[in-house]
């Protein structure tokens, strides 16, 4: 439905503009994506630091002047980097939109990365990296991610590591900015009360004279993870143990063969079946029937490169092994037997219903369409995805489960030493 409402224009400098009108509220949302993301960080953490520092000075404006301009009209303007793309997001009431587009243009085109501001953001980033150790879930996930991804950049959080971030200087940010933030690598989505052609014209007025660099826009392939499943973990003085089970899973861009199952769609459905909502399999079996956890679920993120399928649970330290066995039994069950057709249909309705509910606000629509375009799926993936989900059969789901969940999983545990030792073996407790 969204796809038919899209107004699309490629500006002369290469910016792809995608606009949708929504007259029901006085809100304009815009998102600016550049391809790349932290997976292309020359030094881990470069993209994130660039995103933090980019709003802190331009050729003409100081950090405070930028903040005052956005805050004086009550606009929200933020920047971020994920593993797969850089993002600036803007939200305003309609009357301020043009002025805020001009400010965003100045920030994205001519950041000055003042040395003092870069130093400040660097110090704050180092603190954030350390703060991740305060949450047992993020410690367990960080251990799992690094075991699974080895040499691949997905092994690290977008923040980078303390050692790497400490070496970054403004010159690194300028270089990264020049390489990735350029009109011929930019996708802009504009959603809201301003009529789409008018919104695109406003974009053209503010971004149209940004000259393309002419550099190639290819993104080179990344190193394979080259890892073997193993058990990792960290002893911490916590109330709960966190247990995670991880399996390598395909990229959303993995080529699909006509006579093979769409593995991405099948794994999205298996993830929904296991981990989505109060009626999901893990919730019912491990929480409702056995009282082992408050939080038990699964996730399978959509990734440009190799993804991961993770099931996790937070449980009482005394139940660490029982909970691990419980998670494992549910993954094994998907390999051993096909889902009932009714289970599959329920999972489809659940997944598609929630997919639709995730596109309610202007910002959500701007995010999903821009993201699809940026990672190479195209905005029509918004229509192809539900079709692919509908087409998954019980056979395809089981075949995919067999392919990905038959082997030994990667396991990560965090909790009190005595609780995690039986899982890891005494020598491995960090």
């Amino acid at each position: 439905m969204l796809h038919s409402q899209i107004h699309r224009k490629t500006l002369a400098n290469g910016i792809v503009a995608i606009a949708i009108g929504n007259p029901s509220t006085d809100i304009m949302a815009a998102r600016f994506f550049s391809r790349g993301g932290s997976r292309y960080d020359p030094t881990p953490g470069t993209g994130n630091l660039m995103a933090s520092a980019i709003t802190k000075g331009t050729a003409n404006l100081s950090s405070m002047e930028i903040a005052e301009r956005a805050e004086s009209v009550g606009a929200s303007l933020g920047t971020d980097v994920t593993s797969d793309y850089f993002l600036a997001n803007l939200k305003t009431v309609s009357s301020d939109f043009g002025e805020m587009l001009a400010l965003t243009s100045e920030i994205l085109r001519e950041p000055s990365f003042p040395a003092a501001e870069v130093e400040l953001e660097k110090r704050l980033t180092l603190q954030s990296i350390r703060s991740q150790r305060e949450q047992p879930f993020s410690v367990a996930f960080s251990e799992l991610r690094s075991a699974m991804y080895g040499q691949h950049p997905y092994a690290l959080s977008t923040l980078g590591t303390e050692d790497d971030v400490a070496t970054l200087v403004p010159q690194d940010l300028h270089r990264y900015h020049r390489a990735y933030l350029r009109p011929d690598n930019l996708i802009v989505t504009l959603v809201g009360c301003i009529e789409p052609d008018r919104a695109i014209a406003l974009l053209e007025e503010t971004f149209g004279d940004w000259e393309a660099s002419g550099l190639p826009t290819d993104l080179p392939p990344l190193p394979a993870p080259n890892t073997e499943p193993r058990r990792v973990g960290l002893a911490q003085d916590t109330q709960q143990s966190i247990v995670m089970l991880g399996y390598s899973a395909p990229s959303v861009l993995a080529p699909a063969h006509p006579d093979e199952p769409d593995e991405y769609a099948a794994l999205k459905l298996l993830n929904t079946y296991l981990g989505n909502g109060l009626s999901s399999r893990l919730f019912v079996e491990l929480r409702e029937k056995r009282g082992l956890a408050y939080d038990v679920s699964a996730f399978f993120p959509t990734r440009v490169d190799l993804s991961q399928f993770v099931a996790y649970i937070g449980t009482a330290p005394a139940n660490t092994e029982v909970a691990l066995d419980g998670l494992q039994a549910e993954l094994d069950r998907l390999v051993a037997r096909p889902l009932d057709p009714e289970e599959l249909e329920t999972s489809k309705r659940k997944l598609l219903g929630q997919y639709a509910l995730g596109k309610q606000t202007n910002a959500q629509i701007a995010q999903i369409l821009g993201w699809y375009e940026t990672i190479g799926l195209g905005t029509d993936f918004d229509e192809r995805f539900p079709e692919a989900i509908e087409a998954v059969t019980v056979e395809a789901a089981q075949e995919t489960a067999r392919k990905y969940f038959s082997g030994t999983p990667y396991i990560s545990v965090v909790g009190p030493e005595a609780a995690i030792e039986p899982v890891l073996g005494a020598a491995a407790v960090g």
């Binding site: 805050e71 009282g291 219903g353 509910l357």
Partner: protein
Amino acid sequence: MSDPFRTSTADPQLSSRLPANIYQRADGLTLIHQEIEAVPVVVTDIWVDAGARHEYPEDSGLAHFLEHMIFKGTDRLSPGAFDCAIEGRGGATNAATSHDYAHFYITTADRDFEATLPDLCDLLLRAKIPDDEFELEREVVYEEIAQYRDNPDDCLFAATMASLYPASAYGRPVLGTRDRLESLTPETMRQFHRQYYQPHNMTVTIVGNVSFDRARDALERHCTDFRPPASYRDDRPVSAPPRQTQICRDILELPNLELARLNLAWHGPGVENLRDGYVLDAIAMILSGGRSSPLVRELREQRQWVQAIGSYFSLQQDSGLFSISAWLDATYLQNVEEAIVARLAELHDTAIAPAVLERAKRQLCNDFVFSTETPSQLAGLYGYYHTLDRADRAFDYPREIATISPEEITTVARRYLATDAYTATIAICEPAT
């Protein structure tokens, strides 16, 4: 038969401000309805004045535990059947409990409205609270508490509330404690349920692509036959918190802490004085709403003492709470506390510049627009305001904010935010053993 619903807003000026309609049934149940044709969904959000503030101290955690048990079914619905019915249709459901309310919501496709409402009503009106499910679910709540205790910010918040509201339900954690929950019985929970899950305590908000007639008819058919009220115990009002007369400082030592926390808190008004609450919202925005605000500019950007700093006013029925929180290196705890107090003193002594006030107002009004975009946001807003006070107040917000004057900022800052009487809660890393 006469229409059991009547419009409760007698003043047409008042009701016209709200894009929704408020109706009250003869038995006291309130329906707030807004039709939005542009979206193919309906959100039903049922708010119950059955929060933790009604608990006796020895039953701490009861209201929240009951929220879990509501989903364990009725004579007609087996445990989990409701979740399957909603989610199997592609809908979503969940619930939340605070000191002042419990609420339960479903989002479904518009065509599923009539099919799903009966089950939600059945759960809330006729929860069975089976003994064996009670025992099992208690383990789940213990895990919820354990997870909360592994989060330093949650621990700090609990300590602030305990210090600010001694001997009041607001001072006890909504989740309760293991000790209290261990001695709780299903029978006590059933009594609590039957006392508070009654029509006069309920606000049903229905927002989305459904007409008023459909909403009312479904409610008339299915939100009736309440259990006869039981007495959990004699209800009693929340005792007023003691006046803050000095600086009260608590220090928590937590394991695995990388950054220290500093939280300064003051009692604010309850719903009896919403106007002062709005002014405190503006003060929070003036103090720390963005990089150009004084606290962020001075402490994060210039002196570089904090990782982050923020402030907010949290409205509660009987006594709201204003707090300023900073994440920082422990070395700067004292400097930051002094700097915050100095900023407050400035608010007491110097009139706020009109431009600064205008900026804060614009930020607040835009935030209000941004937070009323979806049916679920609207349903939540109406239900929340009506449970604490009156739903039409929700849409007074932009107008109230617009009329705040510099003098009012000074008056309200002096009234609530004393520089020599507040509660400071500090978290530092526990020394290595």
